[in-house]
Structures are given as C-alpha cells and as structure tokens.
C-alpha cells in the first residue's frame, strides 16, 4: 500500500506532479486528488461513458485507466473546454439545443464530441449516432443531444 508511483501528468494545460498508488484509477485521481469533479463516474466498468476524458486528444474511459497510465500524457477534462462565462461552442450548442437534463453524463459526452468533431467536422446524423453509441444517457432519449452535435458542428465550421 505504501508502494507509490511519482506521476507527472498535464491536465487541461496544467502540469501536476503527484505520488499515487498504482491501483488508483484515473477517474479517482482526477476527481479526488486534483479536485476536478466535472468528470463523473457512472458504472466503473467502461460502458456508460460518463467518465470519458481525452488523453492526447483521444477519448478514453478514465474509470478503466490507471492514473499511472497517464504518466507523461496530456489529459483534457470537461473543465478544460470553456468557462461558465465563455462556453466552448460545443457547450453553447448543448445549451441552445437542450442537449442535457440532469447533466451527469454530459461531461463524458462533451469530451467525446470534441474529439469526434475534430476528426469529422461535417458529420451525418448516422455518424453522430454512431459516435455517441458509447455514451449512455437516461434522461434525453438522445434526440436533443444529436441536434446539439449538429449545431456544434455548424458553429465550429464557422
């Protein structure tokens, strides 16, 4: 238990050096060690997608990743998108299209969508549904989420 690892990781542009147990999950590390509680944990077995964050720009399940695996990498969480005063275009689109209700799954969806739209700036509805199929939402029935992603793509294309 006293066996710890010296972890260096960049999260939302800030470099952190922390000593962690090797078994510490990345989700717990972000939430409890760094206090970045925007990343949520819904299932802890990699299905619901609520805990999705970006590692070097690619979406990963932070509940299935050990913190030590992020050593030397760059992580982006929902806190790294926009601020309340200046929302990221994806966040704006989610507000305008009512793409969230309880908001618990939302941070994982936002990070997933960010990576998706960077790869595919002009997606079809079919492609959006496919891209979101690894993120469960119990509130919205997905329709407004899909409309939010369409709107976000439009905003980001400018």
């Amino acid at each position: 238990m006293s066996n710890t690892f010296a972890l260096t990781v960049t999260v939302n542009g800030t470099r952190y050096e922390r000593s962690v147990e090797p078994r510490t999950l990345l989700s717990d590390f972000l939430r409890h060690d760094l206090g970045l509680t925007g990343t949520h944990v819904g299932c802890e077995h990699g299905v619901c997608g609520a805990c999705s964050v970006l590692m070097d720009g690619q979406p990963i399940r932070s509940c299935l990743t050990f913190a030590v695996q992020a050593h030397g990498h760059e992580i982006t969480t929902v806190e790294g998108l926009g601020t309340k005063e200046e929302l990221h275009p994806i966040q704006q689109a989610f507000q305008e299209a009512h793409g969230l209700q309880c908001g618990f799954c939302t941070p994982g969806i936002l990070t997933t969508v960010k990576a998706f739209l960077e790869q595919n700036p002009n997606p079809s509805e079919e492609e959006i549904r496919e891209a979101l199929s690894g993120n469960l939402c119990r509130c919205t029935g997905y329709q407004h989420i899909i409309e939010a992603v369409e709107l976000a793509a439009e905003k980001m294309r400018g």
């Binding site: 078994r23 509680t37 299932c43 029935g141």
Partner: protein, 780 residues
Amino acid sequence: MDRKLIGKRVVRNEDPRLLTGHAQFVDDVHLPGMLHAAFLRSEYAHARLLKVDVSKARAHPGVVAVFTAEDMGKDWFPGPPLVSPPPTVKDVIFHSRRQVPLAKDKIRHAGEAIAVVIAESRYIAEDAVEEIEVEYEPLPVVLDLEQALQPDSPLVHDDLESNLAAWLSQKKGDYEAARRQADVIIKRRIVIERGAAAAMENRGIVAYWDAQSEHLTIWDTTQAPIPIRNGTAARLGLSEHQVRVIAPYIGGGFGPKIMMFYPEEMVIPWAAKKLNRPVKWIEDRRENFYATTQERGQIHEVEMALSRDGRVLGLKDDFLHDTGAYDPYGLTIPLNTQSHNMGGYDIRNYSSEFKVVFTNRIIATPVRGAGRPHGIFVIERMMDAAARELGMDPVELRKRNLIPPDAFPYEHQIIDQAFAPLILDSGNYKAVVDKALELIGYEKFLKEEQPRLRREGKYVGIGVVPFIETTGVGPYEGARVTVEASGKVNVTTGIGTQGQGHFTSFAQIVAEQLGVKVSDVRIVTGDTSEFHWGTGTFASRGAVVAGNAVHAAAKSVRQKVLKLASKVLEAPEEELELEDGMVRVADIPQKSISLGELAVLANPLRGAVEPGTEPGLESTSYYGPQYGATAFGTHAMILEVDPQTMMINIRRYVVAEDCGTVLNPLILEGQIHGGVSMGLGNAYYEKLHMDENGQLLNASFADYLLVSSTEMPRIEVAHLETPSPLNELGAKGVGEAGAIPVPALFAQALENAFHDRKLEVLEMPLSPNRLFELLNDVTQ
C-alpha cells in the same frame, strides 16, 4: 391569457454550471477529515445469518470502524413506513414490514447490507469488506409470485402466515351484471417483469456532524430532502432544525431516489455522528443493481366484456404485485395500476383486486410510470384482442370508448394512489388521438404502404396507443419568492430536482409576474435550510404542485411591488406595469423605479414602519390540490422487424400530448423523448434476469441494456392544450408520460407487423430472443 414567457422555448439557467463541470453532485462533496464507507452485502437471497466476524476487517490498517446490526444497539430499528395503507377502502389488508439498517438474524434479498466498513479511503474500505467472515444458513428462495402464495411456500417474513403483504379490492358499477349483458368476453393472462431505473448517477450520501454546534449536515441523492431531514432527526433524537439535508444536483432520479429510508440513509448519518467525522458513501453500479429499488413485476388475470358494436361494458382485472422483501412504499404502485386500467375510456363497470406479495427480491418502489404502464398495457392489450375478436379496426374500437369532452370532470368512483377520488379533471381525448393519426398517416400506411412493404418481404407494423397519466397529486408544496436589493429574484422551494429543468421553468413563472429576465431569477431547490415544508419530487408533480406554489408566491410579491410602487410613483396601481426589472407608469416611461430600489425601500435600515406591515418584497405561498390533474396523450409508431434476426428499426415515432398549459416546450419535449427511451427499454431491452437462487445474472451495463443513441428513433411531438381547471397555471404533469404507453404500443406494432402469423404479445419486456420464440410458437 397573453403570456410573455410561459410557453416559450427558453434555454436553461442551470446549463452553464452543468456544462462546465461546476455543478455539485453528492460525490463531489469533499470535507476535511472525511472517511469513506463500503458495505458488505449478502451473497444469498434468503438465508439465516448465523455469524458475522468483523475482527480481521477492524484490524485492517486504515480502517476506522466496522459496524454490524449488533453494534448499532438500541439505534437499530427499521425504517419508517413511507406511505400508510389507504384508510377509506373496505377490508383492506396491509402487513407493514420495513427494511432495516443492517441485516440481523435473517437475509431477505441478495445484496441486503450486513455490515459497513468505514476507512480512510474507499479503496481501503473495500479491501476490508473482503475480510469480513459471514456464516449463512441458506433458505429456499421465494421468487415466483404465484408459488409465493401457495400454502407450502417458504416465508420471507417468518412471523406472517403467508407471503401476502396486502390485499385490496375496488369496484365501480357492477361488473357481473355487465358480463351477463355482453356479447363478447375476452380473457387474457398478462405478465410484466422487473426492470431497473438505472439513473446515470448511482446513489450516495455524505454526512457531517458538527459536534460544537450540534448540527448534522447531509448531502443525499434524494428526491425528497425534507422528509429525509425530518426522519433522520427522529431516528437520531435531534430537533428537525439540527439537521440540514441538501439534495444538490442529482444525476437522474426516475423514482428510486424517493425511496425512504434506504439502509445507507439510516447507517451513514448515524456513523458520522458516532465517529464525529464526516463519512461518505457512494454506491457503485453493481450495488445499484442489488440495493437500489426496482419496479414492474406483476401478473394480471383480465377479463373484458363488450357488446358486438364495440362498447366496453365492463373490465375485471385481478393481479399480483411483487413488492420484494419489504413494503415501505405501501400500495402506491398497485393503486396506480388500478387507476390506469380503464385508460381514457368511459368504462362504467370495473372490478379489480390485487394481492401484494413478498419475495426475496429487492424492494419494489415507483420507477418512472409507477404502475401506470402496467395499467395501460393491460387495457390496451385487451383492446387489441377485442378488436381482433370483433373484426374491428383497433383505432375505431378505441374511439368508440373514449371519454367524450363534455363528460369532464369524469369520476371513476375508486381511489387513486393519493387516496383521493380518481377524477379525470379535463381533456379532449379524441382530438389528441386524431392528431397522432394524422401525423403518422394511419390510413395511408395501412392501405398503401404496408401492403407494398409486405410484397417486398418486409415486416412493418403500425401501433397507436392512447393513455392517461394521473399527475400533480397532493399533499402540497410551497415556495418563497424574494426580490433582492440587486433587483434579482430569489426563489426557494422544498422539492428536489433531478434534471427536469426546474431552475428554468420556475424562473419563467416568476419572471412572467415580475417582469424580470428569466436569467435574473435564481432558484434554490432541495436544501432544507432554505425551505423546510414540502414532500418531494414524484408522481409528475413538480411543475404542477411546486409550479403553482411558485406562481402564487410570485403573484403575491407582484401585489406588494405594485402597492409600494404606487405610493412611491404617486400613481394608481392599475396604471403600473412591470417590465425589464422596472415598475413604470404606463405611457409615462420616465416615471419609473427599479425593483431593486423598491426592495431597498421595503426593507429600510432606519425610520418608522406602519404597524402590521411585513418587511421586504417577499412572499411564501403553498399549493395543494384537492385531487390530481390528469394528462392525456397518444403515441404512434411504425416498426420494422427483421424476421431473421428479430432486430428492429423504428421508422416513425409520433407523440401527441395534452398536458394542459405548456410551461416550456423545449423542456417538455426533452421529458417526452427521455420517457420514450425508457419505455423502449421496458419493451425490448431491459429485463432483470434472475436465476433460481435469486441472483441477478445481468447486474452490469454490459449485460443490462439501456437504449443507446443507435436504437432511438427521432420523435415528432405535437402539443394540444386543455388547461387543468384545478390550478391557476392550468398545468398537468408530464414527467412520466413518455414511458407509459410504450410497451403497449410496441406490442401492438409487433402484432400488426406479423398479423398474418397471428402473433399475440401478452408479456413485457420482450427481447429479440423472446420474440423469436413467440413467433415460433404461433407458427407451429
């Protein structure tokens, strides 16, 4: 009424916090010195608990305490009954057996909590749980509702004569007489099995006892913070004012988060007080499948009596309802089923009795729909069976029996879940059905498209299902509206909120009255230190009951504003208008004062005050309905089934909805979309599979399938408005509506797709496998 803000697609006030990760959920609470709890849960569904040895766990480094039922001493006693049995019904039987904080002597469902470990971290607490040694004596398991009532069945509660938890019978008119006059009698057996509510956020609780001020603060994922505060105070021998319960942002509720008290809600605050340290417990997903309440299990024996021309003369439905190991939630679910068995139809003769049955399963409490989908499934399946028997179009049969617009208020002569008379307050049902038919293109599909598709070898069916939803029940909710010196408005109410958009819809109601921006109205819900009267968020009642309390308080503040402004501006009240945060004399815009300045004048620091006046521009109001408002809707779908794989494709999905006055169509549509997705889960994906030992076989999201973005169709929603005469806003609830008709609709569309094979669906949920079996059965 001409409205500026009510009924508009206003974007939500709460979104920026949620979208940036700054909204506080229970698991986000972090306190200095906080400990973490993990529970040991029973491996068996039914067993005697012979011995619990926690000595190794206690010695584990980092463990602060381990508690069993024995360790709780005189503080160990069952949770309170949440809902009492209805006093007004004759001969009702009700055996109240409530859940306990930690199991003692006997285990009654797999996952029941036996001991709690409290440690410096959750990782350590879970390690130490593994070191607790338990000796069980396994007992035969009670799962099947019918076998559970056999005289030789093992007993879930040894002190009862049988597993019968409750019995209740209600009658309207004379079913037997109707039966004698009938040309056609239809009989069916209908089985509905269990599913999970599966909110994305699991449950959690943080408790902090401040020994210096003797004050307990609890953050709880509850839909009912005020009852949790009052009940916790009673359990711990504290004044209600020594306990503050905060239900912050909640990651979805759907019913189970209003179950009170969960064992963890009894144990964690007690442990925090005993240890004098903050304690956090966060449920994991597996625990959620084993320890959070579920719903839906019922078996119905139904009989419908009809005349040859398609009038339903009477309905009889006797059913069994699975309450699980305990019955703290009383009869809410089966009473809802009984209240929805007649749907929106004018049925004069009705007889229904139900038996509530104890089983070795997790407690059943309401899940979105709360017994209503069962009632609608029953009546709608019977309607379809009757239409086939009579050789009549199923929509025509329904139309012949709908309650006509001039028959409201329509009294059913039975009681509902709130023990109030079941009265349908208002509606224009046929118009809603017609709207759905028009949108889906019913006639054209049947006459042209379906035959064409069938020729192409495609199995495509149509369904149309009308339904009622009783909503907005009592007892009451309250709200306090305050204009602050900044000119912004603060509103507090006691109900909890789990994503329904209350921060916006309530703000619209206030902004409408006070002429301020929606974004300048701050809503506080779910914090007992802010408002401590109310019951909670359930039964699609937030917008109706709390909404009308907010409306009444806002109107009262408006009166105070007008009175004071009239004095200050030296103009009669009727010449004043409230707009842009100002009070103005109409036609003389330069004669005006801001709400903020008025608020300051209403709360002076010095000077004399007229006797009898109250300070501030503030008012508190309550709203309690005599009985609930009833919404009506009709869903229609066109469903394609691949006859090889049984995979489905929903080509069209249409909803026509009349929930009275629409507060915010954007939020309303979101509620409906989400309800439909849960309903589709209940129809084709979500079934809790249990083995013969009472063990769940699919207790993970990898195995228990929630509907995802690739299964959901696009939904077209149309609104019709028949305002409820019961409240000033004219509102009816809609939170559960989306889920209610979906299983019945899905069954009808499937039967229509396979009409040439005479498929009949009398069970829910189905699955591709099960549909394959059913089709094989009818083919052979």
